[in-house]
Symmetry: C2
Subunit: 225 residues, 2 copies
């Protein structure tokens, strides 16, 4: 499907013409462990697919198991009906900070992102499908799967799971202070980074929660990395 | 370009076959003010474009002025070279919480998202280009534009700005507690929402910051909504 493939060693993503970073290549990486860590940390991804020449970009929950990225949804969803027939792009982005330079031009953000390209296939085997759904619940809150009612056969049939190989992919990371033009360092403007992070607040109980049901450790100790 | 167009009143986005929510339509809205508020709150968007049938989804900074969404980047970037020739999809997503249901199946997230479809055009008029770049800096940190060195002609020439009409678009919002199957409310499992929010930390000064330069109010008082 792609040209210019370079076979990489075990821990390296497949670098192709399509995943070679042209802009600021020093921000890029093809390291599989780095990609895995970002895919695992990001709570959601954005899935891109094409219909009649029009791209669509839809946010959804994902999970990684080994070298496979799973996304799921209703069997009736457009993304999942189309996604199993067409090439996908799945992107995750973690925002780390606002980069405040001395010039408008060098303002930026600190971020970590992964772009995965490829053809997804629908998971039809019952055990793999269940394990993918388990991974998706565990991705959001580790330990939660064992606390909840598992999917029924009817629910499983109503859920489509897509598997995308994590193979042709790239990582892009910007970190650190602004990089201003040399002559601008003399300006009296404050420059630096405003760090950003996602934080979890106090759990809000369902108004219909039964009397005396307390949050488990999974919930009460939930923290973002 | 699209079929099934319904002309809406002033404050309504254009609902087409392509932006009609098929899944859980009660989560959808075509209200322009709601879309504007989400586009303004989100720090980044994900831009989808197609090359040789392959979708690409790239995170980038955006800004809104009236009914136009601007994205920018190096004139050398693939996204911006391709984006001015092909249909785009720009999606912003704000994560508000993890929805912990009693069943695996009803786990979800609280989020607010906007999907904008359309054909972008490159901004070539100098004053509109400058105003778009101003809007992008102000979008990230209101008040910052007046503190920094403005773009030179060379920088302006090296920057491509795309304008996408905010017209054919839809909003999707999930909020509130989990919605479990009626019989599952009797389970002894804690259920509710873990709220999520993006917070800004203490500003980190550039190691090369000149002596005695203090953060302005724009920086020192920076808060996320």
């Amino acid at each position: 499907m792609s040209t210019g493939t370079r076979s990489g060693p075990e821990g390296t993503l497949r670098k192709t013409d399509r995943t070679t970073l042209r802009r600021l290549p020093d921000r890029g990486s093809y390291d599989r462990e780095t990609a895995n860590a970002l895919l695992d940390e990001a709570l959601i991804c954005h899935v891109g697919f094409v219909m009649d020449g029009q791209p669509f970009v839809i946010p959804t929950i994902h999970a990684r198991l080994g070298r496979t990225l799973y996304v799921h949804g209703s069997a009736a969803s457009r993304m999942l009906r189309e996604g199993k027939r067409v090439p996908l792009c799945v992107t995750v982005t973690l925002l780390d900070g606002l980069v405040m330079a001395r010039s408008a031009f060098h303002h930026s953000m600190n971020y970590r992102s992964v772009v995965v390209l490829g053809q997804a296939h629908e998971v039809t085997e019952a055990e793999e499908k269940l394990q993918a759904l388990r991974a998706i619940v565990e991705h959001v809150a580790a330990g939660r799967w064992d606390e909840v009612r598992w999917p029924t056969d009817t629910e499983l049939r109503g859920t489509t799971v897509l598997a995308l190989p994590i193979d042709e992919a790239s990582v892009k990371i910007r970190s650190g202070p602004p990089k201003d033009d040399e002559e601008d360092y003399a300006l009296p403007t404050w420059a630096g980074v405003i760090p950003l992070r996602m934080v979890a607040g106090e759990p809000l109980a369902d108004p219909r929660l039964g009397d005396g049901i307390r949050p488990s450790d999974v919930i009460a100790r939930y923290r973002r990395p």
